[in-house]
């Protein structure tokens, strides 16, 4: 089973995770910019974080044969802090980078006017930079949040097939399914979705436009739940081709729309550090 985790916060994970992921079959990841648990208080904290997402983290991942790309944005939670908002003006610099494959995570947390503004401005940036958008949906008041999200997406003029709406569940998937946007599901040990529930959603809606991620971060989460979902799919009678489509080809297709997805080296590490040697060869000097 080859796996592309389309949403995982590797900054918060250890090298043990990278080794386990590589051994289990995870060959590519996308790390969306989000909040870090501890609120930030200035734009400089964001730029150092963005630098890490396009610098240190892909370097770390490559040591395990895992290809790492990022999405960049001001997340909805911190969009509410006036001290952080100036980072919006710094985003265009990062949205032009080679390994940035979408604008995200954008969307709603508490559905405030500040979040409206940041969401709209960043959807416009996605259009301007010819990038897809990764949209986070709120954990509280989710169904209303998803409906309002879809209205803002529709009004922005971005093509629905260039938008992934994430953290969906049984209650909210239908709204997104009808819109033509991609449907993202985060499989967690306790909250959000579980592998058996994910299988039921796939039975009902099929594998089209479905993205399954671990969204593993600094909370209770597990980077191998994508694979467990694949195993549960097979046990439920889905074919290996279905599993490959959901766990590999779908994320490749979605992020491939950026024109910047480069999967060279995916799956070459087998859990052992290899990058230092090959990187020196690559650059010479």
């Amino acid at each position: 089973m080859r796996v592309f985790d389309p949403h995982i916060h590797m900054t918060s994970r250890t090298t043990d995770d990278y080794a386990r992921m590589a051994t289990a079959g995870v060959r590519a990841v996308v790390e969306p910019a989000f909040w870090l648990g501890q609120p930030r208080t200035n734009p400089g904290s964001f730029t150092d974080y963005f630098d890490s997402l396009i610098g240190w983290e892909p370097y770390r991942a490559a040591q395990f044969g895992i290809v790492h790309h990022a999405t960049i944005a001001l997340n909805p939670k911190e969009a509410n802090d006036p001290r952080c908002r100036p980072v919006l003006d710094l985003l265009p610099r990062y949205l032009d980078k080679d390994r940035v494959v979408a604008v995200g995570e954008i969307g709603y947390d508490s559905m405030t006017p500040e979040e409206d503004d940041a969401f709209e401005r960043q959807l416009a940036l996605a259009v301007e930079h010819d990038l897809p958008a990764l949209v986070h949906t709120p954990h509280r008041d989710k169904a209303n949040g998803v409906r309002r999200t879809m209205e803002v997406v529709a009004a922005s003029g971005i093509a629905p097939e260039r938008v992934a709406v994430d953290h969906l569940n049984e209650v909210t998937v239908g709204i997104v399914h009808d819109s033509g946007c991609w449907m993202g599901f985060s499989v967690y040990p306790e909250t959000k979705m579980s592998p058996p529930r994910m299988v039921e959603v796939l039975r009902r809606y099929g594998p089209d436009r479905v993205l399954v991620n671990s969204a593993a971060d600094w909370g209770v989460s597990d980077p191998l739940l994508t694979l467990e979902t694949g195993t549960a799919m097979l046990a439920a009678g889905f074919s290996e081709d279905d599993v490959d489509r959901v766990l590999w080809r779908n994320p490749v297709e979605f992020y491939g729309q950026s024109g910047r997805l480069d999967l060279t080296g995916a799956g070459t590490g087998a859990g052992r550090p290899t990058f230092a040697g090959s990187s020196i060869k690559r650059g010479g000097s």
């Binding site: 610098g55 240190w56 080679d98 024109g259 230092a276 020196i280 010479g284």
Partner: protein, 201 residues
């Protein structure tokens, strides 16, 4: 040292030359255009090794020439800015371009930044010809860091000319540590240590 003319001649033979030529001209006439052309060089000029110029890729060469094409009074500000907001490939290109730019020692803080990282690509790029501006103590530490991180010592420009007794002592102590731990000491470092101690005896 690789000079801009050699890079330009090699790039002229690549299929992406037309784009490169356009952005190089623009960088000279409208320096504010370098922000976008510098970041896009990988996608537009390609990342393949540059034929005939060992150690350079097309994107690195394009980025180096972009910096070399800037009006003289803009170079110092732009290298600082492009390095600060650059990804690893962009940072590496700035470091490799430094010896070709008339910036004196102004690029030194970038070298220190690169040597502080644990990114082998940046460390290697920091130890090219421009590293002559590094103080000897910082240079020795950087060489030792290469050994520590398995960066081949061929990355270090002018290694034998600059290596001194102090570096030999540091290498010998590190070799002892590795031996005590039952770990390998890289062959190129052992050879350097051998050369340095032989000269002395």
């Amino acid at each position: 040292m690789t000079d801009p003319e050699r890079l330009r001649a090699a790039l002229r033979e690549t299929p992406r030359w037309e784009w490169v030529d356009t952005v190089l001209t623009a960088a000279g006439e409208r320096p504010e255009t370098i922000g976008r052309s510098f970041v896009q060089a990988g996608r537009r000029a390609g990342r393949a090794p540059l034929p005939g110029v060992p150690g350079w890729t097309a994107d690195e060469a394009t980025r180096a020439l972009l910096l070399a094409a800037l009006p003289a009074d803009r170079v110092e500000t732009e290298i600082g800015d492009l390095y600060r907001y650059g990804d690893a490939d962009e940072k590496r290109a700035v470091l490799k371009a430094l010896p070709m730019l008339a910036v004196g020692a102004a690029g030194l803080p970038l070298l220190h930044d690169a040597i502080r990282t644990n990114d082998a690509r940046l460390l290697a790029a920091a130890l090219g010809p421009y590293a002559r501006h590094l103080h000897q103590a910082a240079w020795r530490q950087a060489v030792l860091k290469c050994v520590f991180m398995d960066v081949p010592l061929t990355a270090v420009d002018g290694l034998d000319e600059r290596a001194d007794r102090e570096l030999a002592a540091m290498l010998a102590a590190f070799a002892d540590e590795r031996a005590a731990a039952g770990r390998l000491f890289p062959a190129d470092a052992a050879a350097l240590l051998d050369r340095l101690t032989r000269e002395e005896s």
